[in-house]
């Protein structure tokens, strides 16, 4: 296998690293590679920070291992190679009446990446995380041998692998249980929320299958925390969805594109676009689940400097107070981009390092600058203080101490990981930056 020298880049384009990359097209080739030169597996590199970066090291690109191995239309169980993308699953199986039970906000994410971060979707409060629908994982160790693990056969290793950041080995393929998909269209109801309290109450009261909120990170004072609640249900309509052709951002955007006045103006328009009494619209599944995928390489909109995504989850007890503090800091700083999400989360999680907890999750993008790094550091500290967590799939600025505080099961995870990968062959930049494999 030839190795290609490549620049690995987090989706936020701030954390990068030069690495040698292999890209096997068959499981047997992957096994050969691991035997000779074990290295972390990476997917579509849609993590924002450094989860899929291994600077000055090697990595294995899994995206060419992307075949569906079997599908049982009775049970909805799909066995697929780890490089399969979520979009590919949706495109192939939605017409057959099935879809992944959990889908992150980008369809480019791979099966392996979704398992390794135990991702959540717009239905987390009802369906839990991706890992809760994983029936079995075919895990390849540094010796190139594959073992199929299930929650029953290897409970400890399974819990360390789901959300395990690739540290227990390469996920070659996995079985997931999909859910019925009655239609290729989804009915979306949009309502305004005038401020944070109202927004949180609406989110709590919502009984919709899919529920997500857009939050205006520039609003302050009376309107602090205002936003738009989106509740959605699959329809039984058989109309074929319309979808516009994807566009591509061809170059780094100039700085003024996301300057504070532009963002304030945009957010005001975006908010006012929804009539006071709310409105209902019919969308294609992909438009609803992966709204940003229509613009390829949208991360270039932030220009060369890149951006940071801050995502935290806060427990119910502290959520309102902490969100208020956070949103004040954010609005005062005037640094937020229009991409901001407030969502309710349930208790569901399948791994020791899974992100979600019962409460609320807030996610925002900030163009990279000294000021925004200081702001995110403050937000990280607030999340830690509130007993919340930062999401490893997004983080680029947390500290090792915060990670320990936020993930109490880290030590238990480390025990299993050290047994599975004693040489530390699967470490990535994220692992080293947050010292996730260093005993406390």
């Amino acid at each position: 296998m030839r190795w290609k020298t490549a620049e690995l880049t987090g989706w936020g384009r701030v954390l990068t690293g030069k690495a040698e990359l292999a890209r096997p097209e068959k499981p047997a080739a992957l096994s050969q590679i691991l035997k000779k030169s074990p290295a972390p597996a990476i997917g579509a590199q849609r993590s924002y920070g450094d989860a899929a970066v291994n600077g000055n090291g090697r990595a294995i690109d899994m995206t060419r291992l992307d075949r569906f191995i079997s599908f049982d239309p009775e049970t909805g169980i799909l066995h697929a190679e780890a490089g399969c993308s979520i979009t590919d699953m949706l495109d192939t199986f939605a017409p057959q009446g099935w879809m992944p039970a959990v889908m992150p906000g980008t369809g480019f994410a791979t099966l392996g990446g979704c398992i390794a971060h135990d991702v959540h979707g717009k239905n987390h409060h009802k369906a839990g995380t991706f890992g809760q629908h994983v029936v079995a994982v075919d895990l390849m160790g540094a010796d190139g041998s594959t073992k199929t693990i299930t929650p029953e056969s290897d409970p400890a290793l399974f819990k360390a692998t789901i959300g395990g950041l690739g540290q227990t080995g390469a996920i070659v393929s996995a079985k997931i249980k999909m859910i019925p998909c009655s239609s290729r269209l989804i009915q979306v109801d949009e309502r305004r929320a005038a401020n944070l309290v109202e927004f949180m109450e609406m989110l709590k009261a919502s009984n919709a299958t899919y529920c997500v909120g857009w939050i205006d990170g520039t609003a302050n004072g009376q309107s602090l925390g205002r936003g738009i609640l989106e509740e959605a249900e699959l329809t039984s309509s058989n109309m074929a969805p319309k979808r516009r052709k994807p566009r591509k951002v061809p170059f780094n955007a100039p700085k003024f594109a996301l300057s504070p006045p532009t963002v304030r103006l945009f957010n005001r328009m975006y908010f006012n676009r929804i009539p006071k009494q709310g409105r209902g619209v019919l969308r294609s599944l992909k438009d609803f689940f992966f709204p940003l995928d229509k613009i390829h390489d949208w991360n270039k909109l932030y220009g060369k400097r890149g951006f940071h995504q801050f995502q935290c989850v806060l427990p119910d007890e502290t959520a309102e107070r902490t969100l208020r503090d956070m949103l004040r800091l954010i609005a005062d700083a005037g640094l937020a981009s229009p991409l901001a999400v407030l969502k309710r989360t349930g208790a569901g999680r399948a791994g020791l390092l899974s992100f979600p907890m019962e409460g609320f999750t807030l996610a925002l993008d900030f163009p990279n600058s000294e000021k925004s790094r200081a702001l995110v550091a403050q937000l990280n500290a607030l999340a830690a203080e509130a007993g919340g967590r930062i999401y490893f799939a997004k983080d680029s600025l947390a500290t090792a101490a915060q990670a320990r505080q936020m993930y109490p099961e880290l030590a238990e995870w480390q025990k299993t990981v050290e047994a599975a990968d004693p040489e530390g062959a699967f470490k990535t930049d994220l692992i080293r930056r947050l010292k996730l494999r260093t005993p406390a």
Partner: protein, 245 residues
Amino acid sequence: MSQTWIILGAGSAMGRAFARKAATQGAHLVLAARDQDDLDRTAADCLARGAASAAAVLFDVRKPESFAPIYDAAKANDGIINTAVFVGSMAPQDDVDADPNVGDLTIQDSFTGPVNFLHGLAPIMEARKGGTVLGIGSVAGDRGRIGNYIYGAAKAGFHTYLSGLRNRLNRSGGHVVTVKPGFVDTAMTWGIEGMFLVASPEQIAQDLWTAHEKRKNTLYTPFFWRYIMAIIKSIPEPIFKKLSV
């Protein structure tokens, strides 16, 4: 009615991508390559994506006895039989220079092997009155260059064969597309320096399907290679012989 597609070299990235394309069109597939386990998996993948059927048949272009089972698998389906030929090998010119046997193998894999296969298939296609052959040649076959002229010569020979076969199959309603891909992002080109304007296998597969539907004679894919090669072909030999492009 669903047509049949034989995919020779279905284990390659391009072969796999084209098999998927044909699968989404509801074709019957006969997938042929050297690795049975891997073929079985590609067959399952194609079925999930909509193929009417998918047979996985072991095939080695250096073993003519492996051809008949593929013909038989295709004949088992009714209707038109099409073929896409993705086999070929490109040994580094240095290896060929060091050992002439290596050059023989390149010629066998990229020229005489596929020709023998197609020659056995032609009467079967004729009997079914139609069908397309997508023959994957190479821009390397357009002009001999110091870097890989054994491979280039093999592909040039294959191009000439394809043009003759086009002439022949045309009489029974069949068609042949001579395909000349530029650089494609596959395991063959992965990590090789000096690659530019690299196309994805999916992009090539889409182009191949369109060329099949439109009955194109020669397809450069991506299209701009037609112009790149026009320039390379137009360089006068007295100058060209001194270049190392």
